[in-house]
Subunit: 349 residues, 2 copies
DNA sequence: TGACAAAATTGGAACGTTCCAATTATCTTG
DNA sequence: CAAGATAATTGGAACGTTCCAATTTTGTCA
């Protein structure tokens, strides 16, 4: 059962027309008579024909494969899962299908999967590059005219489009908000210092402090893995300082959750005894206790926009690089809402 | 730049051999002389040739497309993201690449993406079916000899392999553990009652109570959306009962987190004043505060096993359905560890 | 109704690969 | 060194589709 593939010739035969006519109805050409179209479609249904895009794509030669690729550096991070969902939405409704691969921050794996996707004929790629990705890694892709959209992270020197969130402005707003609440010892917690994203956010932190005429104390910047565990580690270190911070902006929400965990371990109540602000606005941020004040970047929306940009470039045939920075907004919830008296009590510790 | 595709003929030309020879070196055939192999490979590198799997697959006709599909019902749920990562691992190292699609519980979308993947020539499919999937939806796939592995959820009547976790045993163990700690009013919180998974877990709950000679009180079973918000709602309702439960097993971890949130909103300390057990062991379970006692199903491992099973069937050429139930284990952390005195205090409220 | 236009249909070549059968080059060895 | 065996190479057909140019059918109207 099901051994023999039904081809366009089989249905041409059965419908009493030529394969060319069948091909025409497959692509909904207006050239074909309504009656024959109906007959052919009926036969198609009856015989259980399935269109062979591989063959079609081979003949059409270049590009229109209706496949795009998306490769991310860490799919276990729900930020990227959300992003993938956003991409999936627009890609799906445009009749495309997506290859998805996870690189787990390995540039070797990344090279392999991109090569593999290329062999399979993707007509575009959305890439959240692994740490250490070199512009040379993308060279062959763009040389062959395949549009690439980088998301979240940029690859310096690569002539590809990018869509990143406004890390600088986001962190600046977060710090300003805390200063407005009366904090002046604000820590910057988490993240790896060798990434562009980290440095953009850190710069936002510094600039905000400068703008408000506050000194930036380097000991208040403590880096760590950008994970929940990293957040725990970072707050531990920060609480060891002889002059403790009273608030923290965190590299991302995962770190922020870790910071909350760490605070509780020290019998401090996040949002009451210590103000915490995250970055990303992952889905758990609003339901966590306390609800996390954070910079909302709407990963799903980013995925949608990245996909739209990519499809635009694919359809345009030619893709000139454009760099979009996606604006970002502070969502105030409970984790930053330290009441004055409590904060004062803490600063006396 | 990059307009003209480099083909096997081009490199044959440049290397001074025939296209057949080039084809032979591409598939690493032992028939070709070392010297020519080296020369051809050099030319391949120089010209920046990329293999066209579409064309190859067309000639080889059936099956060996090196593409598998994975479609899940909710990628925003980190359980499925983890599962996808597991699949990705084994699929990637087997030289395959995967289409990923999210159905968001829509059978229509599911039908579309499966059809689309089929047109693109997947040689196997891993499916976590959307609610309401009918075995007829999978009929054409299996009829054409494409192996399908269902994960997490089964589709009754479909002649496909499945890999589900042992919901019954997992919930039974959770309840036994709570009873062992001295609880006798244990709630079952969250989940939609019209799903097979819900009923399996509920049955495990009932059977465990019966086994321990405890009555099952129907008012202690409160269903809700299987989400964090649903967990909040469920515990709210449960705390309204005139005879409150002292512990709860939850439909999944997301619900369990919600339950913890809801408890805190009522000034109850999860793990101290009330025992909570989840199901799934998502990645956050171990770092949450309190760390969540839960049934570990290792979604990544499930993904790996599903992929292995699928690849086995693809390689075997023929796929007879096998149903695997993946065993599951109770991971005891803090959220269930109510100390005796506290529990007694609570039960007096 | 004959002639011309418009509409509908069609055969074959092409896309880039693999496979088969056949051919040519290279070794063995008596 | 002839001749058989083995190693290496090769030309063409085939995979399932699309596209082009050409052909056939149908429609229009003087």
């Amino acid at each position: 059962m099901g051994k023999e593939r039904v081809t366009v010739i089989d249905i041409a035969h059965a419908a009493g027309v030529s394969k060319s006519t069948v091909s025409l109805v497959l692509q909904a050409s207006p050239l074909v008579n309504e009656a024959t179209r109906a007959k052919v479609n009926a036969v198609i249904r009856d015989l259980g024909y399935v269109y062979n895009r591989g063959a079609a794509n081979l003949r059409q030669s270049n590009s229109k494969s209706k496949i795009i690729g998306i490769v991310v550096n860490d799919l276990t991070n729900s930020f990227f899962a959300e992003l993938a969902v956003g991409v999936d939405m627009v890609v799906q409704s445009a009749g495309y299908v997506q290859f998805l691969a996870n690189t787990a921050e390995s540039v070797d794996r990344q090279r392999e999967v991109i090569a593999s996707m290329r062999e399979h004929g993707i007509s575009g790629l959305i890439l959240s590059p692994a740490r250490g990705t070199d512009s040379a890694d993308l060279k062959p892709l763009v040389a062959s005219g395949i549009p690439v959209v980088n998301v979240v992270r940029q690859v310096s020197g690569a002539k590809v489009s990018s869509l990143v969130s406004d890390n600088h402005a986001g962190m600046r707003d977060a710090v300003r908000h805390l200063v407005g609440l009366g904090h002046h010892r604000i820590a910057f917690l988490g993240g790896f210092p060798d990434t562009a994203v980290f440095n953009e956010r850190l710069q936002g932190y510094r600039d905000a402090l400068s703008d408000m005429d506050l000194a930036v104390h380097e000991e208040l910047v403590v880096s760590s893995a950008p994970s929940r565990a990293g957040g725990v580690a970072a707050i531990e270190r920060a609480l060891l300082l002889r002059e403790r911070p009273t608030a923290a902006v965190c590299f991302n929400d995962a770190v922020a959750f870790g910071v909350c965990d760490g605070l509780r371990a020290h019998r401090l109540d996040p949002g009451e005894d210590f103000a915490v602000i995250g970055f990303d606005d992952v889905i758990e941020a609003q339901t966590a206790v306390p609800a996390l004040t954070t910079i909302s970047v709407d990963p799903q929306g980013m995925g949608r926009r990245a996909a739209q940009l990519l499809l635009k470039q694919i359809n345009a045939g030619r893709a000139d690089a454009e760099a979009i920075v996606s604006s970002v907004r502070l969502v105030v919830r409970q984790s930053c809402g330290a009441a004055i008296d409590k904060r004062e009590r803490l600063s006396l510790l």
